[in-house]
């Protein structure tokens, strides 16, 4: 069982069974304008066979985080701190050669745009076969057969012929299938998909996500799925991490976060992103203000310049004290659990539709019960597990 599937309030079980474990990750770029703090103290875990969704506005550090896991940044301009452990192996200190052994083999990346993520100069068969030959030492012939097999697996008709075709001879959706075939050719244990469906037609999107999940079932891989679309998260991911300004601000299972979100930024996202759980007739309301500059991020809670709820927190703590994200289910916000539940139920949920209101009311009752229980020593655990 993972840290993220545990009910709120449980002690956090970190490390150990997590297949990918990121701890206190810092990524800084030196640029002409100064130091960009692209990722700032980020921690999360992913288990084998599970999918972690990462959401957040543009520039919140999602792609940087995942490129860091693959070790793709230019070391001359990038400072990386913290720990990335993949299946017991520390990656932040790994050499380029060690990383090359892992990339495409144990961990694979799927980029957003299938139009540009394949080279126009080589046949798809060759591009799929390349990493297979490199990582398994297979012969040219065996690698070719493997490429045909992979094309068949990702649902490309007539794979034995199409393997000789060039990327421009495929449609967008078919190309993304080719990219997935290429990423999965060595049965990677970790698949990082950076907005894999954003560039595709809506009808094709669902097919591609289904394909990813099918591959996951077959190989038992862990998936990190970056997306702007909460609908995609709701249908595809098990766990959810919300990022803001290079930090994780909320995490939990998808169920937990979508039913009872705790962070004001997540509330804003729910109102501003298309989502399958909210009523389509409700208008999307963008979060006011703009994401902060990562050259000079705000003090305290990075969300405070855009937050509507700062006055509910005593003193000026929102501006002075950085709220920590607890391990397991939780949000990095100074509001108390019952304040979060109450504000969400009364202030935010009504704009998100009936379903959200009901879920919020449940969550509020549960939070109140917990608050009461905190004052009554010796209360049973049963109530706690109900939420």
């Amino acid at each position: 069982m993972s840290t993220m599937t545990m009910p709120a309030g449980s002690p956090a079980a970190t490390g150990g069974e997590a297949f990918l474990s990121v701890r206190d990750l810092y990524v800084r770029f030196s640029t002409e304008d100064g130091i960009v703090k692209a990722v700032d103290g980020l921690s999360f875990d992913v288990q084998r066979g599970r999918t972690l969704g990462i959401v957040g506005e543009s520039g919140s550090g999602k792609s940087v985080t995942n490129l860091t896991i693959l070790g793709m940044h230019n070391p001359a301009t990038t400072t990386i701190g913290g720990e990335i452990v993949l299946d017991g192996q520390e990656l932040t200190g790994a050499s380029e050669r060690q990383l090359q052994q892992l990339r495409g083999n144990k961990m694979a990346m799927i980029f957003q745009d299938p139009m540009t993520s394949l080279s126009p100069y080589y046949t798809v068969g060759r591009q799929i076969a390349e990493p297979f030959r490199k990582h398994t030492g297979a012969t040219k012939r065996a690698a070719h057969e493997r490429a045909v097999e992979m094309l068949a697996k990702v649902g490309i008709p007539q794979p034995a012929q199409r393997v000789h075709d060039y990327p421009h001879q495929f449609s967008g959706g078919m190309r993304q299938r080719v990219v997935i075939a290429m990423a999965l050719v060595c049965n990677p244990d970790l698949i990082i998909a950076d907005e894999p469906t954003t560039a595709l037609d809506v009808t094709v999107q669902a097919q591609i996500l289904d394909l990813l999940l099918e591959m996951q079932r077959e190989f038992g891989s862990a998936i990190v799925l970056i997306t702007h679309d909460l609908g995609v998260v709701a249908n595809t991911a098990d766990d959810l991490l919300v990022m803001y300004a290079g930090r994780a601000v909320e995490r939990g299972t998808v169920e937990e976060v979508l039913r009872a979100p705790q962070h004001p930024y997540t509330w804003g996202l729910l109102g501003s992103m298309p989502s399958l759980t909210t009523d389509v007739s409700l208008p999307l309301t963008p979060i006011p203000g703009t994401p902060p500059s990562l050259l000079d991020p705000p003090t305290g809670c990075p969300f405070h310049p855009r937050c509507r709820f700062t006055e509910h927190v005593s003193g000026a703590r929102c501006r002075t004290e950085r709220p920590e994200l607890p391990d397991g289910r939780g949000a990095a916000c100074h509001l108390t659990p019952s304040q979060k539940a109450e504000l969400y139920a009364e202030d935010v949920a009504p704009a998100l539709g009936e379903e959200a209101v009901e879920a919020a009311a449940d969550a509020e009752r549960a939070a109140d019960a917990e608050a009461v229980e905190d004052q009554v020593p010796g209360s049973t655990d049963s109530e706690e597990n109900e939420q």
């Binding site: 230019n74 980029f111 745009d113 993520s117 080279s119 126009p120 421009h168």
Partner: protein, 325 residues
């Protein structure tokens, strides 16, 4: 593929016809009376008339152009002499047809263009590749600075300095001179070494900068990142992916530069007193030898058009998107 090449060749032909018509119009129509230019100071009406007749300019302009074009394929007879095909006109100053003058000068120009190109391609593209591979490092900064410096160089400045040091100062070389390759390959090589180096210098800067920035652009391409993300080694990513993407732009630029060099490296030839096409065009301009100027112009334009078509054919070879459409 074949259809693409045929289409491209026909296109090139149309462009050539257009260019020849425009060039003809410019050269024979703009100076109100080209005969005046050849007639000298004590020009009489009857002399002018004879010249007109000799030039063929006593006919309407479209007829003149028609005769000119037919002459290219069939040859012409001028009252002053015979001009066999391909007839690009008749030079009255030299009392010979223009075409043999061009072919006579061509070996010098070709030698200069090929040798210079080899040098600037190897040095310029090589430096650019090294700079891109080691970007941000010391060698990149050295290469970038050097290329800026060379880019701002001028042949008429660099040439005399090279001569002063290498020839007159250190006596390492004889004065550059053209010796036909077929007669004496070593003499051909040594005689052109300094002109090649000087000509290449001004291109090296441009090619270093271009190669470096094209490669760095390619590193940002998703498919190049993807190649890295699937675990391919750094040299593999560099040559198979990034270099492959940069190649077509470099070929385009090279095709343009090479064809214009074949039309005559005017300043280089002038600086080193080499009798190539560039020097010929200077002489012809000096003497207002209109048929020769026209001939060289047309020849140069044809080269550029032909090389452009050749570049497109190269694209078809290296880019499956072109080949398979």
């Amino acid at each position: 593929m074949l259809r693409f090449l045929i289409r491209r060749a026909l296109g090139a032909l149309v462009v050539l016809i257009l260019i020849s018509a425009i060039t003809y119009g410019l050269f024979w129509a703009v100076p109100r009376d080209p005969a005046m230019l050849s007639c000298g100071r004590d020009c009489t009406a009857s002399a002018l008339k004879i010249i007109h007749h000799n030039l063929g300019t006593d006919e309407p302009i479209y007829l003149q152009y028609w005769h000119y074009m037919v002459g290219i394929f069939a040859g012409r007879h001028f009252p002053v002499g015979n001009c066999p095909a391909p007839c690009l006109g008749y030079s009255f100053d030299e009392s010979t047809p223009v075409w043999p003058i061009i072919t006579g000068r061509l070996p010098v120009t070709i030698s200069l263009a090929i040798g210079g190109s080899v040098v600037f391609l190897i040095v310029g593209v090589g430096l650019g590749m090294i700079a891109a591979a080691r970007r941000g490092k010391l060698i990149d900064k050295v290469a970038t600075t050097l290329s800026m410096f060379m880019y701002s160089m001028q042949i008429y400045f660099l040439g005399p300095i090279a001569l002063a040091i290498l020839v007159y100062g250190l006596h390492l070389f004889n004065n550059p001179a053209y010796v036909p390759f077929t007669e004496n390959p070593w003499g051909w090589f040594v005689g052109l070494l300094i002109p090649w180096a000087v000509l290449a210098t001004i291109f090296v800067g441009a090619y270093t900068r271009m190669t470096r920035s094209l490669l760095i652009e390619q590193f940002q391409e998703e498919h190049v990142k993807m190649a890295r993300a699937k675990g391919m080694s750094t040299p593999f990513v560099f040559f198979r992916y990034a270099w492959r993407g940069a190649l077509s732009m470099i070929i385009t630029q090279f095709g343009m530069d090479f064809s214009s060099l074949l039309g005559g490296a005017i300043i280089t030839e002038y600086t080193f007193s080499l009798q190539g096409l560039g020097a010929f065009s200077v002489e012809a301009t000096d003497k207002s030898d209109l048929p020769s100027i026209m001939g060289i112009m047309l020849f140069g334009a044809a080269l550029i058009v032909i090389f452009n078509a050749a570049i497109d054919a190269c694209y078809a070879v290296i880019d499956p998107r072109v080949r398979l459409n």
